[in-house]
Every structure is written in C-alpha cells, then in structure tokens.
Amino acid sequence: MTTTSRDTRDRQAVGGRSALTPPPQPRPRQRITTRARVLVAAAVTLVFVAPIYLMLVNAFKPQDKILANPLALPWPPTLDNLTKALSRPDNLIPLGLRNSLIVAVISVALIVPLGSAFSFYISRRSGRVKAIILVALSAGLMIPPQVTLLPTIRILTWIGLDHSYPGLILANLGGGYLSFAVFVYVGFMRSVPDEIIQAARLDGASGLRIWWQIVMPLVRPATATVVIFLTLWIWNDFLNPLFILGPLQGQTITTGLYLTIGQYSVDYGQLFGIMFLAGVLPVIGYLTVQKQFVAGLTSGSAK
C-alpha cells in the first residue's frame, strides 16, 4: 500500500528538521499536556465505568437516596440491601453462588486434564489426520451454542442425565470450552523442545508420566489461561444452564437472577444489592489474577 517513493516524499515534505538535530527537550508546555492527558484519560474512564460505579455505590444506599441522586456516594452506607438480598426466602444468592461454583470448578477441573492430554497426544503426531482433527476442534470455537443446544439436551435425555448437574457438566466438557483449551494448549506445546521428551522416553518414562510430570509444569502459563477464562465463561454462562438444568433443578447465579428478579424491578436498592453480591466474586477473582488474565489474552491474540 504505502510505497517507498511516497514515504520519501512525505519525509521530505515534513522533514524541515534534519535527522542530525537532537530531539527536543521537554518543555513546560509538555508537562501541562501530560497532566491534561491524565485528566482526559481519567474522565473517559470514569464515564466508561459509570454503570459499574452505580452498581457499587447504590448497593449501599436506600431506595429514596438512589432516586434522589444515583451518582452520590453512599454516606452513611447501609447494609440493608445486602442483608435483605442474603435473607431472601428463596436463598437466591447463596444457592446460586454455590451451584455456579460447583459447575464451574468441576467442569474446569475435568477440562484441563482432558484438553491438555489430548493436546499433548496430538501434538506429538503428524500428518493429515492430526490437521483435520485440529481444524474440526477449532471450529467448535465458532459454532453458536443455539445450534447444538436442543440435540445436546436430547442426547442427555438418552443417557438419563437431562435436567441435572452432571448433565450440564458433561455438556460443558465436550463443547466449545474443550476447543478453547486445546487451542491454547496446542499453541504452547509446540514450544516444548522435543529433546526433553525424547530424553525422558529413553529414561523409560511413559507417555502419561511425561505429560503429567514434564510437560504440564512447562505449560503452566497455558493452564493459567485456560483455568481463568473457562472459569469465568462457565460461571457467566446463561443459555446452557437455563435450558439444560431447567427451572426445577435450582439455579446457577445467572439463571437465578433472570428467573427471579422481575418482581424487584421497582426496588432499586434490592436490585443493586443482589447485583453487587452476584458480581463481586468474579471481580475479586479478576483483580487477583489480573496479570495472568491480560497475559492470556495477549498470547491468545498474538497467534
């Protein structure tokens, strides 16, 4: 697109200052622009997070104060909204959090060994079959879940696990989540030197042992990425729990909010209290593992 001749022309047009002139020293005006820049960035960020700010401060305000000024700080703060949300007779928050935790932890704990063992096994092989299987697996990243939802429920019915937690977890294991795990692991396992594996093999280590004791420690960043993102996605999943569990099996935190919240739409205090309790865990999780989080996204998008 940009040809060399055009580049030179532009350079000549702009280059009043030759390449030998020293770079300009910072001037007072630049210090002012630096400060203005922080202010602009802060203002934009504030507007951007306003909805989350609203959720945070209004969880600690009574209804009348929310309507009077939703942006005001909660002073004096009240814990009424939170205690009311926690003492609901339907146990929405404690049950929802517990169910989401069970589903997310068991699913991820099973996807990690399955995905990484599969990736290790297939990355040591070559040829067309491997290529086809990997393409088929990465297609799973793109398939809209609405396409496979109904047949998945039917398959679960055949094996007697429809409308159950084991059924939901089983469906999580085989779907697009596994594709994501394989996608990440295969990328990382390419960089594991073959010599290490050959050496271990000569020492008499089995494939299972090489995978678990040598490869897994080497691809720990991949495991971090897989664990963090899959936990978040499965925790936040809405469509699968809504239809695979159905309304009678107790709710995960997302479906629970959806199915019970309508009646509270007028009481903003209640609503913000519930939202705060439902959202605070993933946010705390994100803030603790933030570095790996961004690293995972970055390495994923570099490929």
């Binding site: 697109m1 940009t2 580049d7 350079r11 702009v14 280059g15 009043g16 390449a19 820049r37 960035a41 802060a42 934009v44 951007f48 997070v49 909805p51 609203l54 959720m55 060994p113 399955l114 995905g115 063992a117 290790f120 096994y121 088929a136 697996l137 799973g140 793109m142 398939i143 809209p144 609405q146 396409v147 496979t148 939802l149 109904l150 047949p151 398959i155 089983l170 469906a171 779907g175 596994l178 280590a205 089995s206 494939g207 299972l208 936040n236 809405f238 469509l239 239809f243 997302t254 909010l257 913000f272 939202m275 439902a278 959202g279 946010v283 994100y286 996204l297 970055t298 998008s301 570099a302």
Partner: protein, 299 residues
C-alpha cells in the same frame, strides 16, 4: 525381570495417555459433532415434541425461511447490531488503547478498570443497564429532573431506540475486550520505529496513519473477528434487556431460534434457522478474517 516390569508399566502409561486423549475426543464428538449432525438432520423434518411422529419433509423448512418475515427482521437486526457494535467497539478500543498506553500507576489502574465489563456476566450487565435505561429508570429520572426531557423517553420501549440501546450496552461490554487486545498490539510495536519517526519529524495524526495503524493490523484481525462472532451468537444481554421486544423488533436470530425450539415447539424449523445462523457465522468469520489477513500482508 526388572526390565520387563518397567516396559509393562510404560505400556500401560502409554495406553493411559491415549485413553485420556480418546476420552476428550469422544466427548467432543458426542457433545458437539453429534448435536451438529442431529440438528442438520432435524432441519429436514417437521420435528415437534408434541407430535408422536416426525417425517422427513425435504427442503420444506428451508423454502419456508424465504417467506418468513420474522426471520428476515431478525437477520437484519442481527447484522446491523453485529457490524455496528464491531465498528464502534473497535474504534473505541483503539482510542482507549492509545489513551491508556502509558506506564504510570494511574494509567495501570485505568487499564484494569477498562476490562471490568468483560468480567461481569451478561445477565448482571443487562440488569444494571436496565435500571439506567428503563422507562422510569435512572437516566430518565435524571434527564427529566434537569429539564432536558419533558417526559421519560422509551430507551428500551421503541424499536429504533431499543436497537440503539442494545448496541450501546454490547459496545460497552466489547470495548473492554478490544481495548486490551489493542493495548497488547500497541506494546508489540518496536520502540525504534517511533524513535525513527520522531527523528524524521513524523508525528500526530500522520504518525498514527503511517506507523501505529498498520502495526495494529494483527490485533485488528483478531479483535474484529471475535467481536463479530460474539454478537452473532449473543443471547443473554438481549434476553434480559428487552426479551426481543418491543414487537419482536430486537429479536436476534439467536433469540428467534430459541423461541422457535422451546416456545413454539417447532424443532425442525428451528434447526433449519440454526443451520442458517451457523452458515452465516462461518461465512462472516471466514471472509472477514480472509480480508483482514490479506490487509496485514499488504500493509
């Protein structure tokens, strides 16, 4: 003696790994490949859970789609939303990344905050925005109070405003993602390139056009593709915000499929529409990735 035992142990370990790999592949086949095939098969039937018997009806579902106005409206809505959100979220992402691409603490805090919308579930995001946008919500209350509006505006209650509102909320969520991708892409630009540019006196918009933007190309490819696919299959935010209303005006194709399958019990037809959505996603993903990849090379 010793040797043979070691060999046997190794063989069982070999089989163990193959078994785990086969289990993973088996799960994928049973819960992704098989459902896909079943869905395809069902799209050629008049399957309906209320009926005892289902018949193959050839391409009747597919020809019915051609005259289905609800489907056409849903496709229009979905495509406008997908491309609108993708453009807005990527423009915002580039701008935000350029603004926050500094190392001091205050910028690091802002970067952390910018990703927060991605962490919350779509259900929570939609409920919080609903309290803001609904008829007697926080936005209308504020606008009426300061006199900018005489009466509450139906941000979610009229077809065009609802499309705009959903676009706004989804853009807000996606921008967290695009910002992080573009920040990573910005940080992968070699510093020497910028040094050379400033020695040559290239700065401001010209520097952005000639250096930064071309160097962002790989980030753009991934960010645009993922934005598009995400919106094409989006379900939770729309369901909570409007449920597809008013008058089906915000019913995306994903919502329409679920409604056909679970509310109208028209499983066969729902499968055919699902195949259309699948084809559309594949087409969009492949063409957009293809075009953007070629652009990466030519830049």
């Amino acid at each position: 003696m010793e040797d043979r035992r070691a060999v046997r142990k190794r063989n069982s370990g070999e089989r163990g790994l193959a078994l785990l790999a086969a289990l993973a592949l088996g799960l994928y086949v049973v819960f992704l490949v098989l459902p896909l095939l079943l869905s395809l098969r069902s799209s050629f039937t008049n399957e309906n859970p209320l009926k005892a018997q289902n018949d193959f009806i050839g391409f009747a579902n597919y020809t019915e789609m051609a005259g289905d106005d609800q489907l056409k409206a849903s496709l229009t809505f979905t495509l406008i939303l997908a491309f609108g959100v993708t453009i807005a979220a990527n423009a915002l992402g580039v701008g935000f990344a350029l603004l926050l691409n500094r190392t001091s603490l205050s910028y690091r805090v802002m970067r952390t905050v910018a990703f927060l919308p991605q962490v919350l579930s779509g259900v929570i995001v939609a409920f919080v925005w609903q309290t803001i946008l609904t008829q007697n919500g926080l936005l209308n209350t504020a606008l009426v109070k300061i006199g900018l509006l005489d009466e509450p505006y139906p941000w979610l209650g009229s077809p065009h405003a609802a499309l705009f509102s959903i676009g706004l909320v989804v853009t807000w969520v996606m921008s967290g993602f695009t910002t992080v991708v573009y920040l990573a892409a910005l940080q992968s630009i070699p510093l020497e390139l910028h040094d050379m540019a400033s020695l040559d006196g290239v700065r401001g918009t010209q520097r952005f056009r000639k250096i930064t933007w071309p160097m962002l190309a790989p980030g753009t490819t991934i960010s645009v593709t993922i934005s598009l696919i995400t919106v094409l299959k989006l379900y939770d935010i729309i369901t909570v915000l409007t449920g597809g209303g008013p008058a089906n005006s915000t019913q995306s194709t994903a919502l329409y499929i679920v409604k056909l399958a679970f509310t109208s019990d028209r499983v066969g037809y729902a499968s055919a529409v699902a195949m259309l959505l699948l084809g559309l996603s594949a087409l969009v993903a492949l063409t957009v990735t293809g075009v953007l990849r070629r652009r990466e090379v030519s830049l």
